[in-house]
Amino acid sequence: MKQSRLAAIVGIHEFRDRDVMGELSALQIKAQSAARALADAGLNWSDVDAIYDAGEGGGMSGLNISEYFGIRPRVIDTTAVGGSSYQFHAAHALRDIAAGKARLALLTYGSTAHSDRRAIGVGGRAAGGLHPADNLDGFAGSTLIANYAMVAQRHMFDHGTTSAQLAEISVATRLHAMRNPDAVRAMEDLEFLDIRETTIDDVLNSRVIADPLHLLECCMISDGGGALVIAAADVARDCRKKPVWIIGTGEATRYPTMGGDITTSAAVESGAIAFAEAGVTPSEIDIAMIYDSFSITVLTLLEDLGFCDKGEGGSYVTGGRLRFDRPSEGPALNTDGGGLSSNHPGMRGIFLLLEATRQLRGESTAQVDNAKLSIAHGNGGMLGSRHTGGTIILAAD
């Protein structure tokens, strides 16, 4: 099957500071990242004709961010579906470029979640919100972490998955983080205790936040951001860096239903669509950038994307299989250090695309030799409750 070569990622930047100490705004992080990503591609603001924005910098973002950047796009897309928004944006950028509506797309993200001291995971959701679903269950005092913990609890019940198996995900991710100077600095700036490679016992001995999830199975809350430039094929050929092609995209949604299986996510649908479009199979993937809000998120998504059967995730991840230096055993996981140990300011989706691109350029700090195919799967909203799945498959020439 001939793969699509219509649009490619040509410019990337990951904002390095994870603690801006309240001295920068989300908008400033977005703009500074955008300038660096455009420079990475050898392009300028004036080349941008399509803007994609999840609205984290404020309301009416399609209009306001265009003015702020000083651009006049002919395509504006403000899809906001949580942490997977950037997979949706990349999918739409490919579609818009393929339709001839745009030639150069800019995606940006900025957040000061750490500086703002947002207790995202353990703050408890406020009742009295305007959405009727939240107004129905806010009284229960569930936390974001508890929501994911309930997926893990059910996964253990249905499939015999163990905490030691889930810990493998944290261990492999930390191994990769220790190779990434930006991740190490992030953990230092966020005052992680005992910054080093971890063992399964380290994870199991960290305190339980919401049964069965331990502290070291939960992502950090950082500041941060980044930017991504996607170009039409003819533009991409003239850019500074070699193009990384978007060859498959998929989008899907799930939400609570009567009798529904919460251990299965929208990745089942979005992954199948993306793999079919790309004309590749999971066994061919070199790099798996999988949204790691929590250990259970990765385990569930690996199953749903087809790297193993449903329920087999626990045995699949066992034995260090996800490490970057075991390419014969399947794809390397989250080689930048992930949300668990490098960067999670609230919506991690863009970082999945950035590291997937670095790997295919040969620029990762946990580089997999001759990496040719990456998958970047974002989960937005809450796994096991209402959520989106966005899958992007990338290929090097």
Partner: protein
């Protein structure tokens, strides 16, 4: 001794106001379509299964089963931090709808998937909250 209040629903939210009003009579309502029999939960003003029907409110028995749960050990919420450890759970009502709630008045170490539970109303002014406890045989 603890005067920090549990968060309560907004009783004027349009889709859920009837649900909360029914709790004053200790009734837990779900909706079913008069035309296509689709059960709708959380409450809405339209059927999600067809464009023709009218949603009828029905009272659930209050009996259910724990589909999954977690024991919360850390919360920064001023009310809930004083309850730690406490149990949140998705409860499958016998009539079908799945509800997020708490399992209370039960040793938290005894809570398990598949556990039979029954409703245990917590009374507040203007609203009662549908919490759950171990079912009595």
């Amino acid at each position: 001794m603890n005067d920090i209040k549990r968060p309560l629903p907004n009783l004027e939210e349009r889709d859920t106001e009837d649900f909360w009003a029914a709790t004053l009579d200790h009734e837990l309502h779900f909706q079913q379509c008069s035309h296509c029999d689709t059960i709708v939960f959380y409450p809405r003003s339209h059927c999600t299964g067809c464009t023709e029907g009218e949603l009828i409110s029905k009272a659930a028995s209050g009996m259910g089963t724990v589909y999954t749960y977690s024991i919360i050990r850390q919360s920064y919420h001023p009310f809930f931090r004083n309850l730690i450890p406490y149990v949140v759970a998705w409860i499958d009502l016998d009539e079908g709808p799945r509800l997020l709630s708490n399992v209370i008045d039960t040793d938290w170490q005894a809570v398990h998937i598949g556990m039979r539970v029954q409703i245990s109303w917590e009374t507040h002014e203007g609203v009662n909250l549908p919490l759950f406890k171990a079912a009595q045989d």
